[in-house]
């Protein structure tokens, strides 16, 4: 039965049919599938499937990215309150838009995907100062700062990711906190993330999930080796 649920859920997500996806999950729970199974065997593998499909060149539009993220976040939120024990948090992320940038869509897609993957996300909102990104990351013990920028001048600007990098370097935090960037300018210039001295970039909101998880893992491995 679980296989049927997985297949029907993935199809509904790809069709951007949120109502149907939620109904599939609700029916599955009523028929005895546990909330833990829904999250770990349906939602998270569904996200992984989408990430892999995109990396293999499957063309997915922005609305599908958005709905994938929103459905995953909605289902996870509903299931979490039914869990027998709170799940282990995979990592912590601070996210916001670069100084001067007011575009929130990409950030919202990323947040939805991260939440579904049991990553604790702090959303600092829009037009965020570099100092705030770093201060909050330190205060919350985050492994990743995500800076979203939709415009060329906010992606490349001195007060955006470049300043976050400088602060991380000046405070000796580069092994503890990774800097990930995303947004249209990075898609149109895949080398731009290096110019702004980020550790990594993601081409779209759903793919950001894997990029951020890899960065979290890198920090954890470093912490493990160096105590």
């Amino acid at each position: 039965m679980l296989d049927d649920v997985i297949s029907a859920y993935n199809e509904a997500v790809l069709d951007t049919d949120r109502v149907h996806a939620l109904q599939i999950v609700s029916d599955a729970v009523a028929q005895g599938i546990s909330p833990e199974e829904i999250v770990f065997k349906v939602v998270i593998p569904g996200l992984d499937l989408m990430v892999n499909a995109i990396s293999e060149g499957f063309d997915i539009n922005l609305a599908q990215h958005f709905m994938t993220s929103q459905i995953a976040a909605d289902v996870t939120e509903k299931m979490l309150v039914l869990f027998k024990a709170p799940p282990e948090i995979y990592g912590r992320v601070i996210i916001g838009t670069a100084a001067g940038d007011l575009h929130t869509l990409g950030k919202r897609i990323v947040i939805g995907c991260l939440k579904a993957q049991m990553i604790d996300v702090t959303d600092l909102g829009v037009n965020v100062a570099a100092e705030k990104f770093v201060d909050e990351a330190v205060a919350r013990n985050a492994q990743v700062i995500g800076v979203s920028a939709m415009m060329v001048h906010t992606a490349r600007g001195e007060n955006g990711a470049i300043k976050v990098r400088k602060l991380l370097r000046d405070q000796g935090l580069e092994h503890k906190i990774k800097l990930v960037v995303g947004g249209a300018p990075f898609r149109y210039d895949p080398g731009l993330y290096r110019i702004v001295q980020a550790d990594a970039w993601a081409e779209n909101g759903v793919s950001a999930l894997k990029v951020i998880m890899d960065c979290i893992q890198e920090v954890k491995s470093y912490d493990h080796k160096h105590g």
Binding site: R18, N61, L102, N127, V152, R156, G157, A184, L192
Partner: protein, 348 residues
């Protein structure tokens, strides 16, 4: 002497007089040209017109713009707050639709031509028409009803309404945006704009599924453009890709000009259009910030030769043209498009 308008008319008929038309979106650069801040620059129609004329002379492309910044359309709807930057385009800071209830209250201006927030644009158009009218195409930028809500409520909230929100609210908003568009395009035509860029990123399957494109984008497109017709209108989907919907748009709408994404295969765009309309070969101009003039030259040559390989109903274009692009790269781009944009080089 051949004018830019002659070049455009020739290209529309599949001919090249001296070189293909070269359209360049030089907007924020005008502030640098006049040595003033971007906020001051966009405060007066005279400044924008003067800078457009100076840049035309300096770079030698084939168009001038009456566009200040995209958020101007939100200001016509009542947006009070624009966020200015030192080195990039102004942005809407105050979204006038904060809840679905605000859609009910949203008022479409009665007359855009006499609206105070249109006054500086009208002044700019008047100067441009006086100075280069009939010789150089004067461009205007108008956001399609399907994409305008993003300026009124944010991209995030528009996509949410589109995909998950109440259909009544969605349709009411589209209706008001379409009513606005009809008045806006009439105002621009009356003020003398020749090239009317119909900007519709939500008219691309990069943004929405094909089903929504057919059910909404195409239908609202028809309504937007029904009263005034398609004369001078360019179909433009921003940086989103166009090829997947191109055949539908040609058959259902029949625009005279298409402006694909820089990420699109221009050869494929030309093949789909197949001489039925004019098509732009568009450069990924973000890279002009870092490329050397030689790199710019190589890419422009590739685009122009590839485009002309599909016929002469072709022109060269740009997209965002970031503020910081060095003048030497703008010049290299335009000079190269002229050099290779001649019929003798079309056998690519």
């Amino acid at each position: 002497m051949t004018t830019s308008m002659d070049r455009l008319a020739a290209a529309a008929n599949g001919r090249i007089i001296d070189h293909i038309p070269i359209f360049c979106n030089l907007l924020d650069q005008g502030a640098r040209e006049l040595g003033m801040s971007i906020e001051t620059y966009f405060s007066r129609g005279e400044y924008v017109a003067e800078a457009q004329l100076r840049m035309l002379k300096k770079f030698g492309h084939d168009n001038v713009w009456s566009l200040f910044y995209v958020g101007k359309e939100a200001e016509l709807f009542g947006c009070k707050k624009i966020l200015y930057a030192d080195d990039g385009p102004p942005n809407v800071e105050d979204f006038i639709i904060q809840s679905y209830d605000d859609i009910e209250k949203l008022a479409v201006p009665d007359d855009i031509g006499s609206h105070p927030k249109f006054a500086e644009t009208a002044k700019c158009l008047e100067i441009l028409k006086r100075e280069v009218g009939g010789k150089v195409p004067v461009c205007a930028y108008l956001t399609a009803s399907m994409s305008l809500p993003a300026l009124l409520m944010s991209m995030e909230n528009w996509l949410e309404l589109l995909m998950m929100g109440p259909v009544d609210s969605r349709d009411l908003l589209l209706q008001k945006c379409s009513d606005f568009f009809r008045k806006e395009i009439a105002a621009y035509r009356k003020a003398g704009a020749d090239v009317l860029v119909y900007a519709d990123p939500y008219g691309s399957t990069d943004i929405i599924p094909m089903k929504l494109f057919r059910e909404l984008s195409l239908e609202w497109m028809k309504r937007d453009l029904e009263p005034g017709g398609l004369d001078g209108v360019v179909y433009y989907v921003g940086a989103a890709r166009l090829n997947s919907v191109l055949e539908h748009v040609i058959r259902e709408m029949g625009f005279q000009t298409y402006y694909p994404s820089p990420l699109e295969d221009i050869g494929e765009s030309m093949r789909i259009i197949n001489d039925r309309a004019l098509c732009a070969g568009v450069i990924n101009d973000i890279k002009l910030l870092d490329w050397t003039p030689d790199e710019v030259r190589a890419e422009v040559q590739r685009i122009v030769q590839c485009g002309l390989g599909g016929g002469n109903k072709f022109f060269f274009g740009t997209v965002v043209m970031p503020y910081g692009i060095p003048d030497e790269n703008i010049k290299a781009m335009i000079d190269t498009a002229k050099e290779f944009g001649r019929s003798a080089h079309s056998g690519y």
